[in-house]
C-alpha cells in the first residue's frame, strides 16, 4: 500500500535519499536546493540513515568528494542548483568520464547573471553535454519516483554514468502537494545494493581512477562513454517498467498527453507541463485538437522516439526555459528539430518559444497564446516566426 502524504519537492527528494540510504552525501547549500541536504543532515543526525555526511566548503568540493567516495566503491549523492552546478562544472565531466554513477538532485534555478534565485532551466541545460543522464520531473511525485529509479539506471553495468534528477526550483521544490510514497523496505529491495566491478578500495584488484589518457586510448574511452549513454535508453525503459509493476506509475522517455488525434502539440519540460495539460483539457472541451508532450529523459535524448511521435502533428511548439544564445532557438528546440531532420520528417511545422526565464510566472493564458498560434499554423500552414519569446515585455 502506498503511503499518502503531502510534501514539497525538496522534502520528497530528501525522503527518497533517506530511503536509498547512500554511503556518502557531500553537499553545499544553495537556494532553492538547500533544503535537500538540510533535511538529509537531520536524518543523519537522528540516526535514521548511516550515511557519512560531508559538509564541504563549495560545490566544487561537493562533487569532488562524491567522485572520491564513488570511486572508492560507495554510493555518493548530492544536491545543488544554478551557480552551485556551474561551480561543479569540471567535476561533472570527470565524474561522467570516470564512469562513476553518482546521483544528484538538481533543483533548477536561473544561472546568474543577472543574479536571480528563481526557476528556469539554464543551469541543467548548460550541463547537457557533460555526460550525465538527465531526468526531469513535473511534480514532487515525479522527482521522488525518478530518484528511486536513479541508481538502478546509473549503476547498470551497461551504463555506469552519473545521473541528475531535475525539478523546478520553488515551483515544485517549495510547494506542498499530495504524493504517494513507497514503504522503506520496498525502496530498499527495488534500489538494491551497489556492487561495482572495479573500485579503489578493492585491494585484490587495484585500479587507477582518473589517470592521464592521451592519444592511444582517450578516443576509445570517449566512444565507450557515448555507447554507455546510448545503452542508458533501454535501461531507463526497463527500470521504469519494473517501477510501474511496483507502483502502478508509468514512466517512459517522454509523456504523451492527449496527442492521439492532435493537430497542435506543445513540447516542454518540468512543471509547466502540468499547466499545459490543464489548458489542453479546456481546449479539448471546446473540440480543439491539442496535446502536450513532456520530456522526461533529456539525456540520452530520445531522438528516434520523439521524431516518430511528432511526425503525425501539423504544428508543434517547443518551449524552452533556457536560451542557447545561438540567435536561433533554445536547446530543446535545437535537439527536436535536428531529430526530425535526421529522421527525414518534414511534415510538422515547428516553432520555438523561450519562456519563464528567471522565474517569470507562466500562466494559463501564456499557454493559450501558444496553442492559438499553433492552431493558426495548423490551419493555414503558414509560419511567420520560428524563434520567439513568450510573454516578454518589449
Amino acid at each position: 500500500m502506498a503511503i499518502r502524504e503531502r510534501l514539497s519537492g525538496n522534502e520528497a527528494t530528501a525522503i527518497a535519499m533517506k530511503q536509498i540510504n547512500p554511503d556518502v552525501v557531500a553537499a553545499f547549500p544553495i537556494t532553492p536546493s538547500t533544503e535537500v541536504p538540510q533535511y538529509f543532515a537531520s536524518f543523519v543526525a537522528d540516526g535514521s540513515v548511516d550515511t557519512e555526511f560531508v559538509a564541504v566548503e563549495s560545490e566544487h568540493s561537493a562533487m569532488s568528494a562524491c567522485i572520491g567516495a564513488q570511486a572508492a566503491g560507495g554510493r555518493a549523492m548530492t544536491a545543488t542548483s544554478a551557480n552551485g552546478l556551474a561551480l561543479m562544472w569540471e567535476l561533472l565531466y570527470i565524474a561522467a568520464s570516470s564512469r562513476l554513477p553518482i546521483v544528484m538532485a538538481t533543483i533548477n534555478r536561473a544561472l546568474s547573471g543577472p543574479i536571480n534565485i528563481h526557476n528556469d532551466h539554464s543551469d541543467a541545460m548548460g550541463a547537457r553535454d557533460s555526460g550525465w543522464i538527465q531526468l526531469y520531473s513535473e511534480t514532487n511525485q515525479e522527482a521522488y519516483d525518478n530518484m528511486l529509479m536513479a541508481h538502478r539506471i546509473a549503476e547498470h553495468p551497461d551504463v555506469m554514468l552519473p545521473l541528475m534528477v531535475c525539478q523546478d526550483g520553488f515551483i515544485t521544490s517549495h510547494a506542498i502537494e499530495n504524493i504517494d510514497l513507497l514503504e522503506d523496505d520496498k525502496v530498499k529491495a527495488f534500489v538494491g545494493e551497489y556492487n561495482p566491478e572495479h573500485y579503489l578500495l578493492n585491494k585484490e584488484n587495484p585500479i587507477a581512477v582518473g589517470p592521464l589518457d592521451l592519444q592511444p586510448y582517450y578516443f576509445e574511452h570517449k566512444k565507450q562513454q557515448a555507447e554507455a549513454m546510448k545503452n542508458a535508453k533501454k535501461v531507463i525503459l526497463d527500470v521504469s517498467e519494473e517501477f510501474y509493476k511496483l507502483t502502478g506509475r508509468k514512466y517512459g522517455l517522454f509523456e504523451e498527453y492527449k496527442t492521439d488525434d492532435a493537430d497542435a502539440v506543445i513540447v516542454l519540460i518540468n512543471s509547466t507541463a502540468g499547466t499545459a495539460k490543464y489548458v489542453a483539457d479546456q481546449y479539448r472541451a471546446q473540440g480543439k485538437k491539442v496535446g502536450v508532450i513532456k520530456i522526461r529523459v533529456y539525456r540520452p535524448f530520445p531522438v528516434d522516439e520523439i521524431a516518430q511521435a511528432l511526425s503525425k502533428f501539423k504544428a508543434v511548439a517547443v518551449l524552452d526555459k533556457a536560451d542557447s544564445f545561438n540567435a536561433a532557438g533554445g536547446p530543446l528546440f535545437t535537439d527536436i528539430t535536428s531529430a526530425l531532420y535526421a529522421k527525414g520528417i518534414f511534415g510538422p511545422k515547428v516553432i520555438n518559444y523561450i519562456y519563464g526565464l528567471g522565474g517569470r510566472d507562466v500562466r494559463t493564458n501564456d499557454i493559450e497564446v501558444v496553442y492559438n498560434k499553433l492552431l493558426e499554423i495548423a490551419e493555414t500552414g503558414k509560419l511567420d516566426s520560428v524563434y520567439n519569446y513568450l510573454g516578454v515585455r518589449e
Binding site: 517549495h174 510547494a175 506542498i176 502537494e177 512543471s271 502540468g274 510566472d361 500562466r363
Partner: protein, 192 residues
C-alpha cells in the same frame, strides 16, 4: 465534481502567512483533498509584504502557476490594505477575510469597490486572550475554513486537535490555547 478553490494570502514577512497557508493545505489534505500550498518567494525581509497561495480540490491538481483570480483572499495584516492591491482579481462570488479589530463596514471602503463578501476576524484579540501572545495563524486558519466552507468544520476541528497534540507534544501548555483560538475564530468571524 472537482471544483478547485483558490486562496491567496497577504501578510508581512515574519507574521506566518506562509505557515498559515501550509497549515491550511495540511488540514485540507487530512480531510482527503488534493492540495497545493506555496509561497511566492522574493527577497524576504521581516515586515515586507509577502504572498502565499492554496489550491484545494477533490481531483488531482496539475496547474503550476500563481493564482490571479482567487475565490478567497486572506489579509493577515490590515496595514496592507492601503499598500497592496489585495482584491486584484478576487471573484465577487468569493470573499475577502481581513484580520482587524474593525468591522466589515469599516473595511469595505478600503477595498477599491470590491462588491463581494467582506469578512473580518480579530485574530489579535483572540490570539492574545487564548495564547497570551500575538500569533495570528491559528485564528486566521479557523476564519478561512469558516468563510470558504472548503472543508467540514467538525472534521477540521477534530483533525486540528490531533495535529496540535502532535506538533506541540513538547509544549502541552499551548495545545489548549490553540484549540480555543480555533473554536473562537470559527464563531467570531464577522460579515458572513
Amino acid at each position: 465534481m472537482g471544483k478547485v478553490v483558490e486562496i491567496r494570502w497577504h501578510g508581512r514577512g515574519g507574521q506566518g502567512a506562509k505557515t498559515a497557508s501550509l497549515l491550511l493545505a495540511d488540514a485540507a489534505f487530512n480531510t482527503g483533498k488534493y492540495i497545493q500550498g506555496f509561497p511566492e518567494y522574493g527577497p524576504e525581509r521581516m515586515g515586507a509584504p509577502i504572498t502565499a497561495y492554496n489550491r484545494i480540490s477533490d481531483e488531482r491538481l496539475t496547474i503550476h502557476s500563481n493564482i490571479y483570480e482567487p475565490d478567497y483572499v486572506v489579509v493577515v495584516d490590515d496595514t496592507l490594505l492601503t499598500s497592496v492591491d489585495v482584491t486584484a482579481g478576487l471573484k465577487e462570488s468569493g470573499a475577502i477575510i481581513v484580520n482587524t479589530s474593525k468591522s466589515p463596514e469599516e473595511i469595505r471602503p478600503l477595498l477599491k469597490g470590491y462588491k463581494g463578501k467582506v469578512c473580518t476576524i480579530d485574530a489579535k484579540t483572540i490570539s492574545i486572550e487564548t495564547l497570551g501572545k500575538y500569533f495570528p495563524n491559528t485564528p486566521m486558519l479557523g476564519a478561512v475554513v469558516k468563510v470558504s466552507g472548503v472543508m467540514d468544520e467538525k472534521k477540521f476541528l477534530e483533525d486540528m486537535v490531533g495535529s496540535f497534540k502532535h506538533k506541540f507534544a513538547s509544549k502541552p501548555e499551548v495545545i489548549e490555547g490553540n484549540i480555543k483560538a480555533l473554536e473562537r475564530s470559527l464563531q467570531e468571524v464577522k460579515g458572513l
